[in-house]
Amino acid sequence: MDLHNVLDFPILSLAIFLPTFGALVIWLFIKDEHAIRWAALATSVATFLVTLPLIFNFDTSTSHMQFEEFHEWIPAFNINYQLGVDGISMPFILLTSLLIIICIVSAWKCIQTRIKEYMISFLILETTLIGVFSAMDAMLFYFFWEALLIPMYLMIGIWGGKNRVYATLKFFLYTLVGSVLMLIALLAMYFEAGETFSMLAFMDYPFNFQWQFWIFLAFFIAFAVKVPMWPVHTWLPDAHTEAPTAGSVILAGVLLKMGAYGYLRFSLPMLPDASQYFAPMMIGLSLVAIVYISLVAMMQRDMKRLIAYSSIAHMGFVTLGTFVFTVQGLEGAVINMISHGFVAAALFLCVGVMYDRLHTREISDYGGVVNVMPVFAAIMLFFSMANVALPGTSAFIGEIMVLLGTFAADVDTLPVSAKWIAIAATISVVLSACYTLWMYKRVVMGDLVKDTVRSMGDVSKREFMMFVPLILLTLWVGFYPVPVLDVLHATIENLVEQSTTSKLDAAAALLLEHAPAVHAGTH
């Protein structure tokens, strides 16, 4: 097998298993709490450094998988340990390894109980996340996808807020029910595509329409729960509200992207005809998320809940961009995901900073924070503006590209012109300004009326440091997105090609090829 790996080194495996190795070392050998924090930080920084060569050695001219690895794992079922990244998955691996560092730094002070288990959970979580984004074998993908539930369940359940048990059970069961259906779909595809789990083989195999129809629905449920799309989004506000700050950061920053990544990796290239067929439904649900959920966000009294609903609305943009099948729309969708990874993560960190001081997330408990925390107020203003998609921030690039892509879209199955959809989606730009800036006004602006707020001190050096990379990245992608677009371009063009080329002719040809044999058998 010809492996495309310029480094001749299993760099993806190293990135996947280095965190687990660090977790094992911490589990077995380190007792002192302070040493545990430093060891976890060192592991996460080392993992980040390991993932950096992925950018510098990335070949932007091809849509082929890169940094590939291949080993037999379970030959009986032709399940292989097959890794590789392309322009879509590579940025997410970097995003994961960066956000995990920030998560560990953010937990430095506020997590005081069971610090060891906490750090181990985070490092194991990193393994599963990088695994999801680099797996090229569908069972390996599923393996990491499901294994991720274990650390996440413990994280929300142990270190979460008052209502954590309810939230974490809801999170676990929602995602589990969604993903077991994906398992059935994968097993069915295994037999149909000739006993293989290779994702590339699934992309090439001509599934006929009936197959595509049902598999699309199974995938849809699995991914829609993760994104989350309306109406299966209700676990997210609960999980976000109850999770510890770092849990919310990783949830918003990376976990939600897994669902959208699933659409890009599975639904569009493997099931192009069903994707076209279901596009109106997907676009409709995206619009509901964008408009209706934005309205819901406006009415929230809890800051974390508000940002959680805002995340759902932003993910609506991502699914909208995905299902218009244009290069601009899809690139916008991916940039939106990356950007949301910075912005939503930073907003949750902002809430975490305030929560550490006053131990409340209610908007009404704050007011006039700017008077005591001027630096913090500036940081939060920046990210609030980014959430509104102000030009110059990464979110602007993502949203404008999705909207342009939607305007230009030409989806046959749509009942109305794509223009109207783009216009409807534009409403959300106004709505997101409403809820974000209104929250900012109530929390940060105004006079100091509450004594509790008066006692808040400004951000510490550690807290400031965790915002710096996010600010820089948001501005960089906002002002000069070309490097990111370069990484995406070849892959996305290939994806558009795949998702707009019908597989039905090939499926019919395949059927004819088999038909004479059957016919001959009857005589």
């Binding site: 288990e117 294994a147 369940y153 413990l154 359940g157 142990i158 029910v177 077991v180 059935i184 097993l187």
Partner: protein, 487 residues
């Protein structure tokens, strides 16, 4: 002196039955030992029994793998399938005895306890090697009678006695159903040998159909009782709860393995002509078992009752392998049982550790806060629970995977979908235990049980579950070779 004349030629290849002979004689030796050894040193009896099992396992391995697999004129068969099942049952028995060491102590007649275990094991080893209904039934009754007594072993505990009585009455009823069904099949075919019966049934016309179908229905119902398939599961929760915990561990694995092996042999050898009919029946039983097991478990407050329903659910998943009816399905059942064995033994080991002087440690509430006091065992229990729920990177995931892929290969996609949905429902009550251990505060002081064999069982089971989860190929390969020649 006149030579003794046998009515038949002397049976050849008697070495195939050597393991059973060793087991039977050692069972008697253990019984006598317990009479003569003083009360303070009864642990010797336990260790002798464990050594017996290991010796029997060794002899099973040494006599199997020959070209000849039949002895006693074809009444007894030691093929790869039976060999693997026997090794599995012996392993489970050894682990159950490890669990018993500290639990069954300071009571009179310790020797009887181990003797009963050995004899029930003997019965089950005969069951899996039987090629005809008579031997199978004898083995089954030997097993059942021993286990009735084992369940009632704590005879001054009302719960235990009640459980044994319920189990006995329903067990006797199921044996009757089995016998009744066998009589129908015998009447229609004129033989007790599985294969001969199968040939006659396959060739029989429509006029014999009714009798054969009636027979099949009763035989399968009787067996379903023994492996606790819904709707014949009523005895399971009571018997599990009332029995001493090591006995519960024993009876949730070993008789299930034996029963399933007999089940498979009957489907493959006796009823191949009725595959369409029994598949319909099995689909009904499987869906009902998955539903009853996974839904009723949610309402339980006692962990042993919960695990009883969980067993019913697992058996429902295992039936999927039979519905597939392919070698992939049958090897899937063996893989499932292997992984299930370690999960069960590990979990019951932890439950036994939870027993304190005054508290049984069997209520779910008793697990509250375990993670703070004994993080190591809480982690083991957590991993085992995630494994039971079928979450990867743990063995339980591959157990479910192999049976699901086997039914999907046969086109039962809706059935598989129902299965995964029930398994997702089942995940709720498994992860609820983790909730108690990790998210709740300690309510009562823990006084954890000790004992090296007990700790070994828990740690080894957990490690194996993790190892199989990460690299299941060796287990899958062994189980695949075990079913070659079955079909």
């Amino acid at each position: 002196m006149a030579e003794i004349e046998f009515p038949f030629p002397f049976p050849e290849h008697l070495d195939l039955i050597m393991p059973e002979m060793i087991l039977a004689s050692m069972g008697l030796v253990v019984l006598m030992m317990s009479v003569f050894i003083s009360k303070g040193r009864q642990q010797v009896v336990a260790w002798t029994s464990i050594a017996t099992c290991i010796a029997v396992a060794y002899s099973v391995m040494s006599v199997s793998g020959q070209d000849v697999t039949m002895t006693f004129y074809g009444y007894f068969e030691l093929d790869a399938f039976a060999t693997y099942a026997k090794l599995l049952m012996l392993l489970a028995t050894v682990l159950a005895m490890f669990l018993s060491l500290n639990y069954i102590k300071d009571v009179e007649n310790v020797g009887e306890y181990y003797t009963l275990m050995l004899f029930s094991l003997l019965g089950m080893m005969l069951m899996v090697s039987a090629t005809n209904f008579v031997i199978m039934y004898l083995g089954l009754e030997l097993m059942a009678l021993c286990i009735y007594v084992l369940v009632a072993y704590q005879r001054d505990v009302i719960r235990s006695t009640e459980a044994a009585l319920k189990y006995f009455i329903l067990g006797a009823l199921s044996s009757c159903m089995l016998l009744y069904g066998i009589s129908f099949l015998y009447g229609s075919t004129g033989s007790f040998m599985y294969v001969e019966m199968g040939e006659v049934i396959a060739a029989s016309g429509d006029d014999a159909r009714l009798a054969v179908l009636t027979g099949m229905l009763f035989v399968l119902a009787g067996l379903a009782f023994k492996v606790s398939v819904a709707p014949f599961h009523m005895w399971t929760p009571d018997a599990y709860e009332g029995a001493p915990t090591p006995v519960t561990a024993f009876m949730s694995v070993v008789p299930k393995v034996a029963g399933l092996i007999v089940f498979i042999r009957i489907l493959v050898d006796v009823l191949p002509g009725l595959q369409e009919e029994y598949t319909t029946l099995l689909i009904f039983l499987a869906v009902l078992s998955m539903a009853v097991g996974n839904i009723a478990a949610i309402a339980q407050r006692n962990i042993k009752r919960m695990l009883a329903y969980s067993t019913i659910g697992h058996i429902g998943f295992i039936l999927l392998g039979m519905i597939a009816g392919t070698s992939a399905g049958y090897s899937g059942i063996l893989i499932y049982m292997t992984i299930y064995l370690f999960m069960t033994m590990g979990v019951f080991g932890i439950i036994i550790m939870m027993r304190r002087d005054d508290i049984q440690g069997e209520l779910l509430d008793d697990f509250a806060g375990l993670a703070k006091v004994r993080p190591g065992y809480a982690l083991a229990m957590g991993l085992l629970m995630f494994s039971m729920a079928g979450i990867p990177f743990l063995g339980g995931f591959w157990a479910k995977y192999v049976v699901f892929i086997a039914v999907i290969e046969q086109g039962h996609i809706i059935l598989a979908t129902l299965g995964v949905l029930f398994s997702a429902i089942g995940a709720f009550y498994y992860i609820r235990i983790i909730k108690y251990m990790y998210f709740d505060e300690e309510r009562v002081a823990f006084n954890f049980g000790k004992g090296l064999p007990l700790q070994f069982t828990v740690v080894a089971s957990t490690l194996i579950i993790v190892a199989v989860g990460l690299y299941p190929e060796p287990v899958m390969e062994i189980c695949r070779t075990a079913v070659i020649g079955l079909l």
